[in-house]
């Protein structure tokens, strides 16, 4: 490669990372935690810690009860999130037109084993973390587009990095632990980037597509459907039947769900009911393909007589199959919990890649400058340390907020406030610290203690957990507690190891 090209690629790689890297860090880190959205549900909601018997619940009765409790609502669509082992409750959503003619979302939650309605004040912790990843808590669709653009930025960074580091195979095994600190950071960046390369390419590519899908669909529809976005959307989702206005009794939903379960042999995830009570009432049941990248098929039935209409899948064509694989690939829904844990590790590695990259670039730049001109670099290094370590602390603060703050009212706002205050505190701590390493160690040390204390707080506030066994304690709660303990111990171990060489600050 010519020197000019190499230097320009290096500059492109560096500046992309320095200018937008921290946003990519936020996406990667929050995404790694948000992967466990369902798995954290029972830890988050002690009132939902019940065992699920998939063959013994009454969805039909619950849906009819929900609609009877809102007689004014004549919803054209009812959305059901069906219970799964990690989240054993039925979630029903529909829109109701109020007296002021404004549409209001009605969201009801039921314990499927008892049929009792549950009071939930939002899915606070999980929802907060997931929205941070998908929308950066910005208004829709700006946040989603920004997340998609950051996927493109990540791809750009990966492409420039791969072309730049031509000795990819050699990089796999080079980690010079006994050399200078600068070299160790550089080796760490190369090793993490090289080992995680396929995953990073995949996650950036699928993330970019998921974030920009609405925009892409509009542009693609412009030429392929003469600008008719609805027609393009129907190509993806099929054409829904229209209500004809003849009221007929509805068939039992549970028999349909049983049939759908038998067709796929997999867990059912969502169902959408259209035109409830009408002759053209329709239910579309979506099954989760736990063991394949194949598109989750939708089994569609007529509700007037329970007859099966079709099994619709995005994967009918080659392009559709490729497109349908994007969501399972990005959210790791095709390989169980172990795959999610692997994804989380690789996601944290992608976050570490940003931090190590900024560190290497800053040190390299600063080393060429006289001491008095290094302040901006020092500030960037401190800010990077504060933002990255602060996000660990802030995430753990949110876990505490979920357990300690009152659950009445909109708790998600309070969790957000605690999250950002924790993040800000960590940032300030790193900025005012004389040595960036000391600030980061303090923040991560606090995070380690918080992580190890979280299971105890869970046990104390809910009366259930790793230390207190009750009939409703189950693997999901224990798993979350154990994961927090492991994170805490891992952080402590990392801090201990980082102290071993005790190298002096270079910047």
């Amino acid at each position: 490669m010519r020197q000019r090209t190499a230097l320009r690629l290096y500059a492109l790689h560096s500046w992309t990372g320095v200018v937008l890297g921290l946003l990519v860090f936020v996406l990667c880190f929050s995404g790694s935690v948000a992967l466990f959205y369902d798995e954290l549900h029972q830890w988050e909601h002690p009132e939902h810690r019940t065992a699920l018997d998939e063959n013994d619940y009454d969805v039909d009765g619950i849906v009819r009860h929900a609609l009877a409790s809102h007689p004014a609502a004549k919803p054209s669509a009812i959305y059901l999130t069906l219970p799964v082992e990690a989240k054993p409750l039925l979630d029903i959503r529909f829109y109701e037109t109020g007296a002021d003619q404004r549409r209001k979302l009605v969201r009801l939650h039921y314990d499927v084993t008892t049929g009792r309605e549950l009071q939930i004040h939002g899915e606070n912790l999980g929802r907060f973390l997931r929205n941070l990843h998908t929308d950066l808590h910005l208004p829709n669709p700006i946040g989603r587009y920004l997340a998609g653009l950051l996927g493109i930025v990540m791809l750009l960074s990966i492409v420039s990095g791969v072309i730049l580091h031509r000795k990819i195979l050699a990089n796999l095994f080079v980690f010079r632990v006994h050399r200078s600190t600068q070299l160790k950071w550089s080796d760490a960046h190369n090793v993490i980037g090289t080992w995680g390369l396929p995953f990073h390419i995949m996650i950036a590519f699928t993330g970019a597509l998921l974030g920009l899908s609405t925009l892409l669909l509009s542009v693609l529809a412009l030429f392929n459907f003469q600008g008719d976005v609805q027609a393009a959307r129907q190509l993806l989702a099929g054409t829904p039947p229209r209500a004809v206005g003849h009221a007929v009794p509805m068939t039992n939903l549970d028999s349909i769900l049983d049939d759908a379960r038998a067709r796929r042999g997999s867990r059912l995830e969502y169902a959408t009911i259209l035109n409830w009570g009408d002759e053209n009432a329709y239910i579309s049941v979506q099954a989760r393909a736990d063991d394949s990248l194949d598109a989750s098929p939708e089994h569609r039935y007529w509700l007037r007589d329970g007859s099966w209409d079709e099994t619709w899948s995005l994967g009918r064509s080659v392009g559709g199959r490729m497109y349908a694989a994007i969501t399972p690939l990005h959210y790791a829904t095709y390989g169980g919990l172990s795959l999610k844990i692997l994804y989380a590790f690789l996601g944290f590695a992608a976050s570490a890649l940003v931090v190590t990259g900024i560190r290497v670039w800053t040190q390299r730049r600063a080393s060429r400058l006289p001491e008095h001109a290094r302040s901006p670099h020092r500030l960037l290094l401190k800010a990077t340390g504060g933002i990255s370590a602060g996000m660990v602390l802030a995430t753990l603060c949110a876990f505490y907020a979920n357990k300690i703050l009152p659950t009445e009212g909109e708790q998600v706002f309070a969790i957000g406030a605690v999250y950002f205050l924790g993040w800000l505190a960590a940032l300030v701590c790193c900025l005012v610290s004389t040595d960036v390493g000391r600030g980061v160690r303090l923040v991560l040390g606090t995070s380690a203690l918080l992580a190890m204390g979280a299971p105890a707080v869970n046990a104390l506030t809910t009366g259930q957990g790793l230390f207190i066994r009750t009939a409703s304690t189950n693997w999901w709660v224990d798993g979350a507690d154990l994961a927090l303990l492991v994170v805490g111990l891992g952080l402590l171990l990392g801090l201990y190891c980082s102290r071993l060489p005790n190298s002096p600050p270079e910047c």
Partner: protein, 99 residues
């Protein structure tokens, strides 16, 4: 020009502003339409073309950005990307009319 042929280490972190601007501004449109133009050549159904076009967008977008930034001169960057954009747009429009 001599500086361009033999860059000093000082240039290691310098990005050409005009090329970066060109790449940032034109690459999204180039990526979008180039992907659609490439998909137009895929002998498949309209449905498949949409899916494949969508999948090609990020690749074409990143490719256009890298190419733009690596361009030797601003003129080459802007004109090259604009040319690709116009040709792609032409292919897409022609495909939409002829189909």
């Amino acid at each position: 020009m001599a500086r361009d042929r033999h860059p000093s280490p000082r240039d290691a972190n310098r990005l050409p502003t005009a090329q970066v601007l060109g790449a940032v501004l034109l690459a999204p449109a180039v990526g979008m339409f180039l992907a659609m133009a490439l998909a137009a050549f895929v002998p498949a159904s309209q449905e498949n073309r949409i899916f494949i076009g969508g999948l090609l967008v990020p690749i074409a977008w990143v490719g256009a950005m890298v190419w733009g930034v690596l361009s030797r001169t601003p003129l080459r960057c802007w004109c090259g990307l604009a040319l690709v954009l116009v040709v792609s747009l032409g292919v897409v429009v022609a495909d939409a009319i002829l189909r």
